[in-house]
Amino acid sequence: MLGRRRKRRNIVMEALCIAATIIGLLLLASILTTLLWLGVGGLSATVFTSVTKPPGSHGGLLNAIIGTLVQTAIGTVIGTPIGMMVGTYLAEYGGSSFISSAIRYVSDVLLSAPSILIGLFIYQLIVQPMGGFSGLAGSLALAVIVIPIVVRTTEDMLRLIPVSLREAAAALGAPKWKVIVLVCYRAARDGIMTGVLLAVARIAGETAPLLFTSLGNLNWSISLTRPMASLPVTIYQYSGSAFADWVQLAWTGALLITAGVLATNIIARLLLRGSR
């Protein structure tokens, strides 16, 4: 027979936890509603067809959108292979040796490192010697953020592959690297894709590392050796500005980037669920 006091305490705690969850969901709803409410008003074809223009000139966000796509793509293309190689090392070659523990630890540090510090690092490494800001520097900063995400996913996915699969391939006479590349990667493909998509979603929304590397560009430019616009940085510049149309574009841009990031996240999770 459950005492009244214990029952009451249980009900109170359960209610508090439900309240906490509702608060969390309400916050998500508030953010999405604010973005929709303030951002939808600025949505128009111009946003996607026109580059950023001076205030009052009916500009859009085309160069910022393209800039984000370009830098995200290059960052992912550079970071993913490196991340996959490191993840493969940790899962297949390193095991539990001291070196692999160290690499695992370092990878986690990079994963949690404040992204603004990565921007500062690339600024010193690339921007200062190059003498100017560039899309390349921005892409490299994003690549550094991608690497640890892909490392972790690759290692986790490779470890999940049953030994029997590897032994079967080895028994057929395949050298180790073929076992990994042709069998294991294929088997873990969906999981690794999920990791890559999550990395893409993460870097697409990053502002701080781009502030000192690709800087932003008010004109159309896809050159990697010149400053390149990106959606988060343009949003950042516009949101503090003194002009109403720029502030509106900032909210519209915010809506676009959030929609893109959330969609990528959801697709990644569906992919993961499908593979399991």
Binding site: K53, P54, P55, G56, S57, G131, G132, F133, L215, G216, N217, L218, N219, S221, P227, Q237, S239, G240, S241, A242, F243, A244, V247
Partner: protein
């Protein structure tokens, strides 16, 4: 179908072809001046065939870039010291003038109703006057009921030219300010809180009863913010209007300064608004990239000749004609470039 495709192809390629006939110039620096340079750039592309790529990265960074010659011109809200100009072979000239308004949030007080002067403004931002019904403020505002509310000074959290203009004015008026805080794009504020960007300052002032802040006059106008009157050097209380800004620009004696490094703050004249500044452009005087410099000068020459209406539309003040003439003379004399 084929015709449509051909038409589409032409439509896509033509802008690219037209762009090839343009000269490209790059500039970097002041965010204060970014809107006007961008607007001029847009118009100049079709008018004189010069395309401008301007990066609003802040005056300090702009000076950096022109020193390193990674851009064709630098833009700064603070005039650069003469020895620095000599060391880096630069010519400095002003382009437009912009005013800084004081905005307030006091219940019951309308726009241009509140009166302040330099000393009280300095005291507010030093934290020595903390309430709106302080006797010093009441003395300036007979007939206005000032409430017993704490003053909440707001300043720009990010480094900005607007901060420089404002702190330079306070340094001119108040020796205590000059000693304790000084003038720069980013200072060690003694009181109040910061907000990011003009939008942040206006938003924060709007949020808090008793708030006071400073923003570009263009911003205050466009967003219908509640502004305050200031007492100018002559002793008159003026409201921040285009006429007041132009009066200050006209009252300044440009002939007395070197390198056009005029300080337009606290100008004499009955109608003059006390807080405003010219914004400057720096171009190389050596002939290393003479064609690019020539294009830059062509751009600003066009701005002087045809860019006034655009400037006024964005609520900047064009330079007085005499100054424009002097600037053009300086170009001819100091910049080693043949083409014009």
């Amino acid at each position: 179908m084929k015709l449509k495709f051909a038409a589409l192809a032409v439509a896509v390629i033509t802008p690219g072809l037209a762009a090839q006939a343009q000269t490209r110039i790059t500039g970097a620096g002041s965010t204060f001046a970014a809107p006007i340079y961008a607007k001029w750039g847009e118009a100049a592309a079709s008018a004189i065939g010069v395309t401008l790529n301007y990066q609003a990265i802040g005056s300090g960074a702009g000076i950096n870039q022109i020193n390193n010659r990674t851009v064709d011109f630098g833009a700064s809200d603070m005039p650069v010291a003469a020895d620095q100009l000599r060391a880096h072979d630069l010519l400095q000239f002003p382009t437009v003038i912009g005013g800084v308004d004081i905005i307030v949030n006091l219940p019951g007080v309308q726009s241009n109703q509140l009166r302040l002067d330099g000393e009280t403004l300095a005291s507010i931002y030093l934290g020595t006057i903390t309430k709106w019904n302080d006797p010093k403020l009441a003395a300036l505002n007979p007939g206005v009921k000032l409430p017993n509310v704490a003053i909440a000074p707001v300043y720009r959290a990010d480094g900005s030219g607007t901060t420089f203009v404002f702190t330079d004015y306070l340094s001119m008026i108040s020796p205590t300010w000059k000693d304790k805080v000084g003038a720069a794009t980013s200072v060690k504020w003694a009181a109040g809180a910061g907000a990011r960007g003009s939008d942040g300052v206006a938003g924060t002032v709007r949020n808090i009863r008793g708030g006071i802040g400073y923003v570009e006059s263009a911003y205050a106008e466009q967003n219908h913010l509640t502004t305050a009157m200031l007492r100018n050097k002559t002793g008159q209380f003026v409201a921040p209007t285009q006429d007041a800004f132009a009066a200050a620009a006209a009252a300044a004696d440009w002939s007395k300064v070197q390198n056009f490094a005029i300080d337009l703050n606290n100008q004499a004249g009955e109608k003059s608004w006390p807080i405003e500044s010219a914004t400057f452009v720096l171009v190389p005087t050596d002939a290393k990239d003479a064609n690019q410099t020539a294009a830059v000068l062509k751009f600003f020459d066009w701005g002087f000749a045809s860019g006034d209406p655009i400037a006024r539309q964005l609520l900047y003040i064009p330079l007085p004609e005499a100054v424009k003439t002097a600037v053009r003379a300086a170009w001819k004399a100091q910049v080693k470039t043949a083409a014009r």
